[in-house]
């Protein structure tokens, strides 16, 4: 389990951690284990089970040690950092590439780990245990080991030691097991086997992938949820997760609150909510990340409204990076309360509101909106937390209003709110969807009330009918719900369509 979980994390900086990567890794792991168990059983009947046990443990240990060293060059061969591949074109590369790397890198150690069980059963049976008792003991120990591997890898090894070191630790443990099973005369030889793994673990992991030309990496690390890095390109600082490519999680541009990206459009939400000057602007940001939206609200609306922001971020690792590199500090964000490690749906239940503005900018696996945050039930929870006239603003990644993801989410929101309109963000694959609890979305009024020149230009753009689209409510069977969400499928379809276009 430890290798399986760490395998997905090892691939994530190159191929992401989408449903393709997960299924490829799980599929390859199961196939390799099955083959290993099958062949291990045959061999255990013909060879000395103790020496077979030692050989399979040693082979699995050495192959686990090699996995991080093999995965990076192979992944770089399939997705070269200098190729400048865009996320919209990457789906076939990610789907097939992650399968190829899984087979080459992870199938061999898992094959030998699979061969362990029958050898262990045979060894126990040879010592006098009944076959049933031996098999039961081995299966129980193996399952408990998997349990330990699952919790230990997720909550201890990866966050504390990193993904590459998780492989080295696994390798060291396997090789130390060889040592324990080796007769005294051969002990020093087996100890020598374990040394490379311990040395590799002590040397740290090294960078998981290169940054493209023109970028400087300021920080990179494993968070409890993903690989994250902060890079600088000229005056722009970017927080990126997993495969990154041309996508980013948060932006900070030196000397201005504006980013030139979709985040800027969130600043229109208070104008659409029709809040009077000096009135209360209580905002809830689901998916705080590096605090780009909070910074924008502080700088653009801080003097105009009585501002308070509740910022919710599931991944505490991103918040730690944001404090160091995005100035996400109480001094810079005096009106922000951060809720770290909290899921958006949980926050909607726990935070009483009411809010004049709810911003939803939550993504999982880089491009996927978590289905439980894009369901009828989630939008009903948002509506219940909004003040009368309050506005929901949602960032949806998609290629225009006809995109399957955009139209499904727009239609689902429209099933809950009366007025729902999307604004196409220029030269990006983002659509901002705005919905108001009561009353119309008055773009002209928003434009007139914008005092900041940057805000006025944005409002002027959004007030143009050709860039907007009104979403009709989705029918009963079409809306996304907690129990029937087709969102993952729609997101895959959206990316396929984008790939086919180019």
């Amino acid at each position: 389990m430890s290798v399986e979980l760490a395998a997905v994390r090892l691939l994530a900086p190159h191929f992401g951690s989408s449903v393709f990567v997960w299924t490829n890794v799980i599929g390859v792991v199961l196939a390799a284990l099955a083959a290993g168990i099958f062949l291990g059983g045959r061999l255990a009947d013909r060879r000395d089970p103790r020496s077979l046990l030692r050989a399979t443990l040693a082979a699995a240990g050495v192959l686990c040690l090699l996995a991080p060293f093999l995965a990076k060059p192979l992944a770089d061969f399939l997705v070269p950092p200098e190729a400048g591949l865009r996320l919209g074109d990457a789906l076939p590369v990610f789907a097939a590439g992650s399968l190829a790397v899984s087979v080459v890198v992870f199938a061999p150690p898992l094959f030998f780990l699979g061969a362990l069980s029958p050898a262990a059963v045979r060894a126990l049976a040879a010592r006098g245990a009944g076959v049933g008792a031996a098999a039961g003991s081995v299966l129980a120990v193996s399952t408990l080991g998997s349990l330990l591997g699952t919790f230990g890898t997720t909550h201890l090894l990866v966050p504390l030691a990193g993904v590459r070191n998780t492989f080295f630790v696994s390798s060291a443990l396997l090789l130390l097991a060889v040592l324990a099973l080796t007769p005294r005369a051969k002990g020093p030889l087996a100890a020598l086997l374990a040394l490379p793994a311990i040395a590799a673990a002590a040397s740290g992991g090294g960078a998981p992938r290169e940054v493209p030309a023109g970028e400087e990496r300021l920080w990179a690390g494993e968070t409890p949820y993903q690989f994250a890095e902060v890079v600088r390109r000229g005056e722009i600082r970017m927080l990126r997760v997993n495969e990154g490519l041309d996508s980013f999680q948060s932006l900070l541009v030196d000397g201005t609150p504006w980013t030139g990206a979709y985040y800027d459009f969130f600043a229109l939400a208070p104008l659409l909510a029709g809040i009077e000057e000096r009135g209360a602007l209580r905002a809830l940001v689901l998916g705080l990340g590096g605090g780009t939206v909070s910074r924008l609200f502080h700088d653009v609306h801080g003097a105009r409204y009585a501002l308070s922001i509740d910022g919710v971020e599931l991944d505490p690792g991103l918040l730690r990076a944001a404090r160091s590199f995005f100035d996400l500090t109480p001094a810079r964000h005096p009106h922000l309360r951060v809720h770290a490690g909290v899921d958006g749906r949980v926050a909607l239940r726990a935070l009483p509101g009411p809010f004049e503005v709810v911003v939803l900018d939550a993504y999982a696996h880089q491009v996927h909106i978590p289905p439980h945050l894009a369901s009828v039930e989630a939008f009903e929870a948002v509506r219940d937390r909004l003040a009368p006239g309050g506005v929901l603003a949602v960032n949806v990644g998609g290629f225009g209003f006809e995109d399957p993801v955009v139209s499904a989410i727009g239609g689902t929101i429209a099933a809950v709110f009366r007025t729902v309109e999307g604004v196409k963000v220029r030269d990006s694959r983002n659509v901002l969807i705005f919905a108001r609890r009561e009353g119309p979305l008055d773009w002209e009024r928003a434009r007139e009330s914008a005092s900041d020149p940057g805000l006025r230009a944005l409002a002027g753009y959004a007030a143009c009918p050709p860039v907007r689209h009104s979403f009709p409510p989705a029918g009963e069977g079409e809306r996304l719900s907690d129990s029937d969400s087709r969102l993952d499928l729609l997101q895959i379809r959206s990316l396929w369509r984008a790939g086919l276009r180019s």
């Binding site: 099958f38 591949l85 097939a96 230009a457 753009y461």
Partner: protein
């Protein structure tokens, strides 16, 4: 001929100068307040819907709003009014580029280059042609990466299936041999 006729008719109708002035205003307003620019354009179109300047402004503004279908329609009409306008060719090239039609974009830019009025304009068009070349190179790179990954992925599936198949077959052979050996003579 049709364009000439439309221009002649346009010149005789009232409000032509006002429409041309409004079209100029669209260019001045567009980056600061696109909603105001759109409102001005609508007034200009109401006054002189076939005037070259108005159609150029409409093409330009709709392109800026990435309303590509409308931009293309206005562009086609602007070219009818003045087929030799190199800027309209450039903007239509941009429309084609944003729609993903690289061949169409390259053709438009070449047309514009052939009618370039000065060096600065020609340099701008050359830069756009280079952009088309870069995009072509990117697409070819992306396709080759996709092919490479698909080939490796297919290879991986074959290896997996072959490995599992070989193991199963070898064990069946072994079992058959054992069965033969164990069978009573």
């Amino acid at each position: 001929m049709k364009g000439l006729l439309l221009a002649l008719l346009g010149a005789l109708s009232p409000g032509q100068d006002e429409a041309a002035r409004l079209a100029q205003e669209v260019f001045a307003l567009d980056s600061t307040d696109e909603a105001a620019a759109l409102a001005v354009l609508e007034r200009a179109l109401a006054l002189a819907p076939n005037r070259k300047e108005v159609l150029r402004a409409a093409l330009f503004l709709h392109l800026r709003l990435r309303d590509l279908e409308s931009a293309e329609a206005f562009g086609a009409r602007a070219l009818e009014a003045d087929p030799s306008d190199p800027e309209v060719q450039v903007w239509l090239g941009n429309v084609a580029f944003w729609k993903g039609d690289l061949e169409g974009a390259a053709r438009r830019y070449e047309e514009a280059l052939a009618r370039a009025r000065d060096e600065a304009f020609a340099r701008d068009v050359e830069a756009k042609r280079a952009q088309v070349g870069e995009e072509r190179a990117y697409r070819s790179r992306a396709r080759s990466l996709a092919r490479r990954s698909l080939a490796c992925g297919a290879g991986a599936v074959v290896v997996l299936l072959a490995g599992c198949g070989a193991i199963l077959l070898s064990s069946r052979d072994g079992a058959s041999r054992r069965a033969l050996n164990d069978s009573p003579e």
